[in-house]
Symmetry: D2
């Protein structure tokens, strides 16, 4: 069985494991208080053109999200998110468990707009009973989104302007950022660092064994952040291991190069489905594909391949999610292309 359900199906890009192997015997201080961690943080500040940024490493995305959001909000404040936002749908209420409401907006193609955000904020402050209502204080976006789509730079500019005007913090979850940057290089690290109060650079889904980088725009706006990390159980004992992995991935633009290769594999698969006359749930340029398959085709492919069920579109069609990642073997892609090609007419 060949797995295309998620971005977690394999281990790491070989460069990552090699770096871990090479540095394994080195001694270093714990909890990221080591020299290599300092070096890689500086490397990331440089890549982001953000010399005043604070950089921290997390093991996983939910951990990063809950720590960042809980650190940013006062008890009565909430975070605006698309209804499909990962924090709203697939983190078992991790944000609520830190005491905060997720304020959802209906998505269009996985995205929310500056206008929706402004209306939410204005509605709050104008409500005579606003003290009885959770106060919006942060915007959470995923780029690429949970539907694999991408915000354009113009859309993000507008969201940023709304955030500034309303005094909202802007947090972009970049769990799949390698694929996002590779698909549209205008939304790159320096740009994200310029518009976000905080954003993450995903490793787990982008070639690392595990790990996410959090870039906090301005260190002085996030005082004592390591206390927050430790309190949430997210201060990794052998912190150096995270730095090692991101050093391997971020050197020589490897991160984006790997993302581009995966996007190209995804493009070929997308084309194969389109060539077969199937539609897509939404048009994606990055590493996730959401083909709408006749149930017969799904059944046929299901003998050899595993996809993530997304939704029943109608009685005869099902949308699935197919993920291609940094570590997806070319052979798996070729096998899928061949199988799609060979599908009979449904």
């Amino acid at each position: 069985m060949i797995l295309f359900q998620s971005d977690y199906q394999e281990g790491a890009d070989p460069s990552v494991l090699e770096a871990l192997q090479k540095t394994n015997a080195e001694q270093s201080a714990g909890y990221g208080d080591d020299d290599l961690t300092a070096l890689v943080k500086e490397q990331i500040r440089t890549l982001c053109e953000a010399p005043g940024a604070d950089v921290h490493f997390f093991v996983g995305g939910t951990q990063a999200n809950l720590t960042i959001i809980a650190a940013a909000l006062k008890p009565f404040e909430g975070v605006i998110s698309s209804d499909l936002g990962h924090i709203n749908t697939h983190e078992t209420g991790a944000v609520e468990a830190t005491g905060h409401k997720v304020l959802t907006l209906p998505n269009a193609n996985g995205k929310i707009t500056a206008d929706q955000i402004r209306r939410t904020y204005d509605g709050h402050v104008r409500d005579i009973n606003h003290e009885h209502i959770v106060r919006p204080a942060m915007i959470y976006l995923s780029h690429p989104t949970e539907l694999g789509t991408l915000y354009t730079r113009a859309e993000l500019d507008a969201v940023h302007a709304a955030a500034q005007d309303c005094g909202l913090k802007l947090f972009i979850d970049g769990a799949r950022l390698a694929y996002g940057i590779a698909a549209d290089e205008t939304v790159n690290l320096p740009y994200l660092a310029s518009i976000c109060d905080v954003f993450t650079i995903g490793g787990t889904k982008c070639g690392a064994l595990f790990g996410e980088v959090a870039v906090l725009k301005s260190a002085q706006d996030w005082p004592h952040f390591r206390y927050h990390i430790k309190q949430r159980g997210a201060l990794f004992a052998k912190g150096r291991l995270l730095a090692v992995q991101f050093q391997a991935l971020l050197t020589d633009n490897r991160y984006v190069t790997l993302g581009r290769e995966a996007n190209e594999k995804a493009r070929r698969i997308r084309q194969a489905f389109l060539g077969k006359g199937y539609s897509l749930l939404c048009d994606t340029k990055a590493n996730q594909i959401f083909p709408v398959l006749p149930n017969g085709a799904l059944e046929a492919l299901g003998r050899e391949f595993r996809f993530a069920f997304w939704e029943a579109v109608d009685a005869g069609h099902t949308a699935v999610r197919i993920c291609v990642g940094v570590t997806t073997p070319e052979a798996n892609v070729t096998a899928l292309l061949r199988a799609v090609e060979a599908l009979p007419r449904f």
Copy 2:
């Protein structure tokens, strides 16, 4: 500079990295829903002689502690701990952040007693205002303790009996369990599984790159436990990586063997200090040593070695903590022995 401050100074036992390398390209389901994870869980149940146990993997200790405790307690319940307990002193209030009070008892040599526990519980239920007071519902012990000491089997039997009589859950934190079992094999996995509602088998400090195993005595007493894990940001995406590491460590009793080798190194260091006429803050048999050093000796050793400051004993003496772990190189031990030997008279 040679580091002896903590158990995190190096990476992993070579067997662990090798196993990660060997399985890196394999595909598997995410979040520990893979075959290898199932296999290693079964292996652990077998080692614990606990066929009805539920087994889960965590990346780190604080994460495991807060998830387990928050899952076990009702909102108004608290957890009894030594005042030196890791959850009370070095987790930045992680337990309180989940809403629960840590009910501290004064330690003796890092340990608390069955009698103290009984008095705490009895005092609560007999207090006419007990509804105004946090209800004790769980006992948290570390074995080895934060002072490197070990509970005897008789002490643990008594704690277990107190837990049973008072209806308290018993949780033993085994972050350094390899060294504990190696030092006293009567407190082994089957024994712990027989007395604890939950205990952990530490990996991070015992030869893994990272990882802790939680053994929940009886699966049906911990329903829906994976929801808890996910909510706390502790469900590791590539869950298989944890199983791979523990498979490497637990096969052929390697875990205890590695612990024994480290304890032996620690013993030699301890003897060196005792041979020099220095005392120990408390007598330890496992991998942590707390020598009380004349400040001159500390200064001299400090040129080459880094220890963890523990406490100023008097104007002229300082207690430090020295950790020896699975990955501590023999060369570092030899260097330290030589340096202690060479210390002038203070």
Copy 3:
């Protein structure tokens, strides 16, 4: 200015103040551990025909809601509510502050249906990733609803059946229950006690100075409930004061009688608006009215009366909320009727 914005505009029904006056010098134990509290609890059990129920008093509604919900749910569980549910809209995230997500369903006339609830629950358990999603565990309804509407007995039967089938707890918020029972006596105390795991009998909006009763169907399903109350700051020091008030209100069916008188006043106001040709946002039988007023009419009435703004229906019309309560003076009603009558044509 005459106020019709809410149910809090005046103090208490005179019978309540008189009872407080009469008993003021009496000594009693604190925190509701007194004989009168025991007596009134028994009176409520009798009225509810629920001899096994546990009865508790709260000062206010948000306090009752957050305490009850936090006591009922495990950390990873959430509560299903209408999107207009008070806990979702007007409690500043009080439920989330206890760590739980409110799972919203779109309302129709302020109500949600058994079918929506079943679909939510089924969707959860059938989702292969359900451990990543907050688990629905309780249903929260308001009766009367936030739009002043009433669930029919058939609708509540269906909700109850859904709750049973899905293993969900059913919680009905009766902040305005006096008006609800008065409007439809088939949904009375014994019926509510038979279908709910917990429901409240509102005092604050129904003639008391303050106070809500929580009826917990089965005492043994809510162990240690007073610990929860105390922890949330909701254990009222002079608990007797709550019992005194509810004794005054619940004796001789006074509670429902007072509700009926208020409903009748509301009916006359409703008729006045309808007689003028204005529509209602939704049809209500209890004490809240939501007329859709031409802006000119609103402006004219606004010189003498204050209503709660509800929503701008279109450029020329505004819906407002008018509350009539137990303590609303007849003179205020007459004045409003006269003013509506006197409105010119808009």
Copy 4:
């Protein structure tokens, strides 16, 4: 049976009930947005000589404490308290339920010192692992203390200086402040407003039916405070009722006068016990007395009077707490004096 266990045994000072009666039919906005509340807040600012203060009303003390502390602290911060502090012992972990650790210091006569506070703070910042430890950020004192003792002005000056030097907020819980001010008028409202970031003026135990005032030194340091109040279920619907009560109590210095009368009753009782040769657990000048009674005396008095058990001092003696309050009838005091006088020799 005559009750002396607590300050909650009766209702309110007659002036309070009269004021409630007189204003019962008046209409006003809810949630304290009414004119009377504004007036009484201004009256309190004037009494405190603190024109920039923010004033809020709470129904009860635990509610006030948890709301204030949770509003003041960041997630990783804790509050320093005496080990006997009400928040540490008798609020069922209410502070922890908001996510914060109570950092306890051993009391002497119910009090903690500036020195203890400084050592705690210094110990934290100097610890190399301070990010793993809850950060002290607020000091909580009770005045009078839980043992009925009083801080001197010099002691409070020293605590205030420590708070300033360490950047800690200072919170004084004045649940029994009427008795405190009456016993030592140098620790009065203007003084408290000058040293505290926040303090409370207790009503529940000092003649009100219920209610506590929170005086927040500087409104701009506590932004959006009403959101916090609402979120914790503490925004009282008919807010005016709290203002009415405090207007009655604070006008013409009635609050302190009532406190003085109670203290005088307590003094007479204290003298009666001392005259009998019994000792006191600690010397108190305010309304609580802690006589150490021969068990025979306790049994004899227990036939007619109820006290709060405090602790078994030795096999033959028990310390009890006796509370005299604003509403304690003179007849009860006389009866107790007579009974003590009549005690045989034990």
